[in-house]
Amino acid sequence: MKKNKLQILTNGIIKENPVLVLMLGTCPTLATTTSAINGLGMGVAATAVLVFSNMIISMLKSVIPDKVRIPCYIVVIAGLVTVVQMFVQAYAPDLYTALGVFLPLIVVNCIILGRAEMFASKNSVVDSALDGIGMGLGFTLALFMMGAIRELLGAGTIFGAPVLGTPISIFGVAPGGFFVFGCLVALVNKITKGKAIKKKEFSCAGCPAASICGQAQKGEC
C-alpha cells in the first residue's frame, strides 16, 4: 500500500484523525481542551515533537532491534520532548509560560508513540515527516475544535473574549469534555460515512501491544 505524499499529509486531518478516528491521545485531549488557546497550544507543541520523533525513529528503524523498539522509542521521544522544552524555556519564555504543563505532558501522549510504531518504523524519513505534520495538524484541529466548543459553551468566551451571556459550566469540566468528544467522533463518522474506523491498517494488528497480546490475528484486542 503505497500512498502518494499528499495523501500521507492529508490522511491525518480527517480520514485518520488521531484523536477522533484512531482514538489516540484521549487523555490529553479531554484534559487540556478547557479553552481554545489551551487546545491550540497543546496541538502545536505535540506536532513539533511528533514531526521530529517520526523523523528520528524513521532514521533509526534499521538500527533498532525489534525486541527493544518500544523502550527505544520512549527514550528518544522523552529525550526529544525534554530538549524541546529546555530550548523553548530558554529562547521563548512567553511561549513556555503559555504552554505550561502541556510541554512535558507530550512525553505521555500516545499519538507520538503510536505513529512511531505504526508509521515511522516502516516508512522513509520524508514520508514520516509528512505523516507527523499531517497527524499533528489533525490533532491540533481536533483539540482546537473541542477547546473552542467547550470554551464557548462552558465559559461563554472565545480566546478569552466574552461572547455568550450565560455559560453552561458543565462543559468546562470532565463530563462536558466527554460529551463534546463523543459528538465530534459522531460527526467525523457521519462525514466519512463510517468508513474511517473500518480501516484494518490501524486495527488491532497496528496496536503497539499486538505482539504481546497475541489476539490481533483473531481480530480482537
Binding site: V75, V83, M86
Partner: protein
C-alpha cells in the same frame, strides 16, 4: 539461534540510544540553564521593580517565624526598600498581593499576584484607581476607601497589605501598626452583661474581660467564608455560655449569616464546651470558624480565674498624655506592661524588651532605669505604671 543478535544486540542498542540521548540532554542543559536562570531572575526582578520603581536587583530574605499571611520578602540590593508578598482570604480564596515598601517605610506600589475574586467585582481590586490609593501610605493605611459593592475583596486586599507590613516590621526591624482588631466596645460588653458596669480586661494573650462578679467575656476570631468571624462570648462564673455577640462578620446571607440570628445565638446559652454547638448544615466554613472561636474561648476561659487583670495608668509625656496598660495579679505583682496611646517621638523605645522587662515580677516601680535619649517618655511610662498600680490597690 544467534546469541549476539538475540541477547546482546537489543540491550546494547538501547544502552547506546540512552547514552546518546543523555548526552544530548546534558549538552542542551548546559546551553540553556544559564539563559533560563538569567531570564527567571530578570522576570522576577522586573515584577518586583513594578512595585518598587528604581530598584534594579533584589535578594531573598529568609524570614524566621514568618508573620501570618506573609509569603516572602525581598530586599533591594541598592537599599532602596523591600518587596514583600503577603496574602489574605478574599471572596474566592487567597488574595496574594506584592507590596513595595521604600526606605522610609511608605508604600511605593502594589500588585495583585493571584486574584480569584469574582470577575467584574472583586477583580476590581487590581484596578489602578483602587491600588493607587495605597501609594505613599504608611503602615497605618489611613484613608483607604473600599470599593462600593466590593467590600470583602477590598478588605482582603487591605489585610494582605497589613500582613505585608507585619513582615516588613520584622525584616526591617522597625515598629509597624499592628493589624490586631480593635477591642470590643462597651456596647458589646453591656449587651452580654446588662447588669454589670465594671469591666476589667485581663492581661492575657487574646482579649478577655472580667464582667464584675457576674462572669467573663472572651473575644475570639477565626477566618470564615468571607473574612474574619469575630465573636464576643459571655460566660457565667461556672463556665457556661450566657450569650454570643458577633462583632465582625461578612458571611453570606442565608448561609453563614444564619449563625448570627437571634435564634441560633440564644440556643447556645448554657453550653459548656465547643463540642456542644449546634452547627448548621450547608454553612460548614462559618461553622468551623465558630467552632474554633468557641474552642479558643473555652481554652482561654479556663486560664482566666488565675490570670492577672489589666489596669490602665496615665501620665503626662513629652507630647501629650501617655496611657499604659499594666497586668497586675491578685498579689499586686506586675505580669505585663503594654503601651496604649502616646504622641511622643521616641515612644517606640519604651516598647523595647530591655526597658519593659524591668517591670515584670515587681510590685512597685522602685529601681526602674529610664532610657537615655528618651528620658521624658520613659519617666512618663514609669509614672503611668505607678498610676496603674495605685488603681489596682484602690480597686
Amino acid at each position: 539461534m544467534n546469541m549476539f543478535k538475540d541477547f546482546v544486540l537489543p540491550p546494547l542498542v538501547l544502552t547506546i540510544i540512552c547514552i546518546v540521548v543523555s548526552a544530548a540532554l546534558v549538552a542542551t542543559e548546559s546551553i540553556t540553564t544559564p539563559i533560563i536562570e538569567e531570564q527567571q531572575k530578570a522576570a522576577a526582578d522586573a515584577a518586583r521593580a513594578v512595585v518598587l520603581p528604581g530598584a534594579s536587583g533584589f535578594e531573598l530574605l529568609s524570614v524566621t517565624d514568618m508573620p501570618e499571611g506573609g509569603v516572602d520578602a525581598y530586599k533591594a540590593t541598592d537599599g532602596s526598600g523591600y518587596v514583600i508578598t503577603a496574602q489574605a482570604k478574599g471572596y474566592g480564596g487567597q488574595l496574594k498581593v506584592m507590596v513595595g515598601i521604600d526606605s522610609n517605610g511608605l508604600i511605593a506600589g502594589t500588585q495583585v499576584l493571584e486574584n480569584n475574586e469574582t470577575q467584574g467585582l472583586g477583580s476590581r481590586v487590581s484596578d489602578a484607581s483602587f491600588m493607587n490609593q495605597y501609594v505613599g501610605k504608611d503602615s497605618t493605611l489611613e484613608g483607604i476607601e473600599t470599593i462600593g459593592g466590593v467590600t470583602i475583596s477590598s478588605n482582603a486586599f487591605n489585610k494582605a497589605v497589613q500582613n505585608a507590613y507585619q513582615v516588613y516590621g520584622q525584616v526591617a526591624g522597625v515598629a509597624v501598626a499592628g493589624n490586631e482588631r480593635d477591642p470590643i466596645t462597651d456596647e458589646v460588653k453591656t449587651q452580654l452583661f446588662p447588669d454589670v458596669t465594671a469591666f476589667n480586661r485581663y492581661a492575657v494573650e487574646g482579649e478577655a474581660y472580667k464582667a464584675g462578679n457576674a462572669g467573663y467575656i472572651v473575644v475570639t476570631s477565626n477566618a470564615g467564608f468571607a473574612g474574619d468571624v469575630t465573636t464576643a462570648i459571655g460566660f457565667d462564673l461556672n463556665g457556661a455560655v450566657t450569650g454570643v455577640v458577633f462583632t465582625e462578620t461578612n458571611e453570606t446571607d442565608d448561609y453563614g449569616e444564619q449563625y448570627t440570628r437571634k435564634s441560633w445565638r440564644e440556643a447556645q446559652v448554657g453550653k459548656t464546651s465547643a463540642d456542644q454547638l449546634n452547627l448548621i448544615a450547608g454553612a460548614t466554613v462559618t461553622g468551623d470558624a465558630l467552632r474554633a472561636n468557641f474552642t479558643e474561648a473555652f481554652e482561654l476561659l479556663a486560664t482566666l480565674p488565675e490570670a492577672a487583670l489589666e489596669y490602665e495608668g496615665a501620665a503626662e509625656g513629652y507630647n501629650g498624655t501617655m496611657t499604659v496598660y499594666v497586668g497586675i495579679d491578685a498579689a499586686g505583682t506586675i505580669t505585663s506592661v503594654r503601651l496604649g496611646e502616646s504622641g511622643d517621638d521616641f515612644v517606640t523605645k519604651v516598647e523595647d524588651e530591655a526597658f519593659s522587662s524591668q517591670f515584670i515580677g515587681k510590685t512597685s516601680t522602685d529601681g526602674i532605669e529610664t532610657i537615655s535619649g528618651a528620658t521624658m517618655s520613659s519617666t512618663a511610662f514609669i509614672k503611668a505604671v505607678d498610676a496603674a498600680l495605685a488603681a489596682q490597690k484602690g480597686a
